[in-house]
């Protein structure tokens, strides 16, 4: 079995082994870019097709939670980088500590994501038959909306209906506008859940990998001679972080009406 940088049978030298593993991880990350590329493409096309409805949808997200998560994730990338650096400089004891910090921050991210998802569920923003973009403006108490925020949301939806309808001057036209807005906002939320869900799934896989690293790290396995797993899982972690760096502005910030 493979222990502390032992040479696998198929390789001639440790350098060759490390080069293979690192190159393998980079190629894997390329496949990940293509994987996320498909859903980013779907987002781009539809954002272009329905800018207003997507704007309405984006304004229903909780900016504070989204921003908080961005900070948490960037911090986790820092702690991950620190654990790689600790391994490379043979600070064996520091490696698992930084890894635990990374895992903790990743868990905080996922926890906040759960809170956000729950909120969307309560606000009838889950794609499906119960989807209702006007739920919060019609039931402000259920969503905790009042005052200026409620006014803004009502105005937002009003504008959305006017942008989506073919005839803003008749009640029938406005009703058609509402149906269109609801449909296209549902498309936005399909993409929101698809993209953030896929990202969260990658976080969960990353957390599993971190658990293994922590376990091995506490045994003192990673030092300057052997740190390929820390480095490669670090690469993966940073990649998942970068995906979020794209998701946050695309989903939360475009067309944002700051109160």
């Amino acid at each position: 079995m493979h222990r502390t940088g032992e040479l696998y049978g198929q390789f001639q030298t440790l350098d060759q082994q490390k080069e293979s593993a690192t190159l393998g991880m980079w190629v894997f990350l390329i496949t990940e870019i293509l994987f996320f590329g498909g859903v980013f493409m779907a987002y781009t096309i539809n954002r272009h097709a329905y800018p207003t409805a997507f704007g309405v949808g984006g304004n229903m997200l909780d900016l504070a939670l989204g921003f908080g998560n961005t900070v948490v994730l960037i911090a986790s990338s820092f702690t991950m980088a620190m654990s790689v650096w600790s391994a490379q400089t043979s600070r064996k004891k520091a490696v698992p500590v930084w890894l635990v910090a990374t895992l903790a921050l990743g868990s905080v991210f996922l926890g906040i994501k759960v809170v956000e998802y729950k909120q969307k569920f309560d606000h009838h923003l889950i794609p499906g038959h119960g989807f209702d973009i006007t739920y919060c403006s019609n039931n402000p108490s259920a969503c905790g909306l009042s005052g200026k925020a409620l006014e803004d949301e009502k105005k937002e939806i009003e504008e959305g209906i006017r942008a989506e309808t073919d005839d803003p001057n008749t009640p029938e036209g406005l009703a058609r506008g509402l149906i269109a807005l609801n449909a296209h906002a549902q498309l936005y939320f399909s993409l929101y859940f698809g993209m953030t869900g896929l990202h969260a799934l990658h976080m969960i896989i990353g957390a599993g990998l971190l658990l293994w690293l922590i376990f091995e790290g506490f045994k003192g396995r990673f030092d300057a001679n052997y740190n390929t797993p820390v480095e490669n899982i670090g690469l993966y972690w940073h990649f998942v972080d970068i995906v979020w760096i794209f998701l946050f502005p695309l989903l939360y910030l475009i067309n944002r009406h700051l109160a």
Partner: protein, 565 residues
């Protein structure tokens, strides 16, 4: 006169040969030693068994389709069942036979040996990819068994995501899972070729089979994730009523088609490129000449992989995409003809003035060149924007892609299986039976699919369960050809299996051929080589390789392969 000369004896006379005492097949015993193996050669055999299984699953559906189309009224199965038959035929054949066939079986077995390595860079990931394939395959078989699949192998939305009443969800999950098997295989090959080459094995000494599989791996790695996400989105739409491609929510079904073909057109090159690699090995071996234009053939593999990514929308000329986009894709599609023609011309030039012998692999190789040329040229008809409006979704398309996939990819696969069978098993198959099978296949194939070009040109649409009576003669011809074709597939199954026990001992290099894989034992050791080989010869060079035993005392011209005058 060269005809007076005795062909020199091969270094070891056949009668005295024995299998090596220890090789990868007898290194360990027991079911565990196979199911938990990390030996690329054993994993290749596991793949061989599983893709053959799926080939026969797909073949049964094809048989039923051809019997059904024997009569114009379509009496054998109901229209709904017919939809399921052609869908399941396509899914089984494309995703579970053609795509993994050459890379996962021959590529897995040969790439490490050809470059002088002990194994692939990631042997455990290699085994994992086989298990992923099995899990994906199980989901798809479950779908077949519990309601079937009627969307066409293309899974176009909204039929697949909303309206179809068949078992789409498990099929989509199965193909999604199976994609990761392809990705991991491609990744493994790329890294292996980069980091595991033996001393002296430079990039331009790599066998062209390795180049072809490297190009294929690029498509695996760049294309497969896109089909994965596309089917995932379609699956989410079906399961959770999300609206990515659903027009009710403003989603765009055409977007699904774009994403689908972004993978699935390059996937065609996943099927044909490795077969081209096989042919590039067979032709110089049995023409006894170095391959003509090595660099160009190597580069054209990469060229096909790259150009393959910018032609996808030629599958969508009648979907209502922008006219100028269609025009651009039509022109871009023609570009594929350039690297393809480079290959065909270079093989032809290799044959020119060669000492050609018609051993079984060569029959497949020559068959490939002819059939691929027909399939490729009819592809240009379909790339032509104006003509495609007439030919789209007719049997012309069906005939075209079967010429590429069956006439090209499967001919190449069987040619490769025969060519390397002595290396894989250490034994020879019965040569004359094998030649008869190869010719049977060629005849059966052409009789099956050539009439379909005419049917399509006359206007018979694909995927219909019945047709006007005037098309019956050609359909009967096609079905008759399919019966011959089926015989042609059964024969190798029988004699190859027989030869595993009773075939003549092959020796290290029965043809003889020039590649590194022929310098080691047949079957090879688990570690492939007794000691790490050092490569000091150029690829496909017969003249400077006296150990091959081909050079006569007075003639500089290599002697023909055994078994021919």
């Amino acid at each position: 006169m060269s005809s007076v000369q005795q062909p020199p004896l091969s270094p070891q006379p056949l009668a005295e040969q024995q299998l090596p005492r220890e090789h990868y097949l007898n290194a360990t015993y027991g079911i565990r030693s196979w199911l938990l193996t990390t030996d690329h050669k054993r994993i290749a055999l596991l793949y061989l068994i599983s893709v053959t299984f799926f080939f026969f699953v797909g073949g049964i559906f094809a048989t039923l389709i051809r019997i059904h189309l024997l009569t114009p009224g379509g009496y054998l199965v109901t229209p709904e069942t017919y939809n399921k038959l052609f869908t399941m035929h396509g899914v089984a054949m494309i995703f579970f036979f053609l795509i993994p066939s050459i890379p996962a079986v021959l590529g897995n077995f040969l790439i490490p040996i050809m470059i002088g390595a002990k194994d692939l860079a990631f042997p455990k990931i290699n085994l994992l990819s086989w298990y992923i394939y099995l899990v994906g395959g199980a989901f798809v078989l479950y779908s077949f068994a519990t309601g079937g699949l009627d969307t066409g192998w293309t899974f176009y939305t909204p039929l697949s995501s909303i309206y179809s009443n068949s078992a789409v969800t498990p099929a989509v999950i199965g193909i999604f899972i199976n994609g990761f098997s392809s990705i991991l295989t491609g990744l493994n090959f790329i890294i292996t070729v980069h980091t595991m080459r033996a001393p002296g094995m430079t990039w331009f000494r790599l066998p062209l089979f390795v180049w072809a599989n490297y190009a294929t791996s690029i498509i695996f790695v760049l294309g497969t994730p896109v089909i994965a996400i596309t089917l995932l989105l379609a699956g989410l739409e079906r399961m959770f009523h999300m609206g990515f491609f659903n027009p009710v929510y403003g989603g765009d079904p055409i977007l699904f088609q774009h994403l689908f073909w972004f993978y699935s057109h390059p996937a065609v090159y996943i099927m044909i490129l490795p077969a081209m690699g096989v042919v590039s090995e067979i032709i110089p071996t049995f023409a006894r000449k170095p391959i003509f234009g090595y660099d160009f053939i190597a580069a054209s593999s990469i060229g096909i992989a790259v150009i393959g990514f910018i032609v996808w929308a030629h599958h969508m000329f009648v979907t209502g995409q922008a006219t100028y986009a269609a025009l651009a894709f039509s022109f871009l599609s023609y570009l594929v003809a350039i690297p393809s023609a480079v290959k065909v011309f270079n093989w032809t030039a290799t044959l020119y003035k060669g000492s050609i012998s018609f051993d079984t692999p060569m029959l497949y190789g020559l068959g490939f060149i002819g059939l691929f040329t027909i399939g490729g040229l009819t592809g240009l008809f379909l790339a032509c924007l104006g003509l495609d409006i007439h030919l789209h979704d007719t049997y012309f398309v069906v005939a075209h892609f079967h010429y590429i996939m069956v006439g090209g990819a499967i001919m190449g696969y069987l040619g490769g299986i025969h060519f390397w069978w002595p290396k894989i098993t250490g034994r020879l198959y019965p040569e004359y039976l094998a030649r008869i099978a190869a010719i049977t296949l060629f005849v059966g194939f052409n009789l099956t699919f050539f009439p379909q070009f005419i049917l399509g040109y006359l206007g018979m649409p694909r995927r219909y369960h019945n047709y006007p009576p005037e098309y019956q003669v050609l359909n009967v011809m096609s079905t008759a050809g399919a019966s011959i074709l089926a015989l042609g597939y059964l024969l190798p199954m029988i004699y190859l299996t027989w030869s595993m026990r009773y075939g003549k001992i092959a020796g290290k290099n029965p043809w003889p051929a020039t590649g590194l894989e022929w310098t080691t034992d047949s079957p090879p050791l688990t570690e492939n080589f007794h000691e790490t080989p050092v490569v000091d010869w150029e690829p496909y060079d017969f003249l400077h390789r006296p150990e091959l035993g081909l050079l006569g005392a007075t003639s500089k011209k290599p002697a023909p392969a055994h078994g021919d005058d």
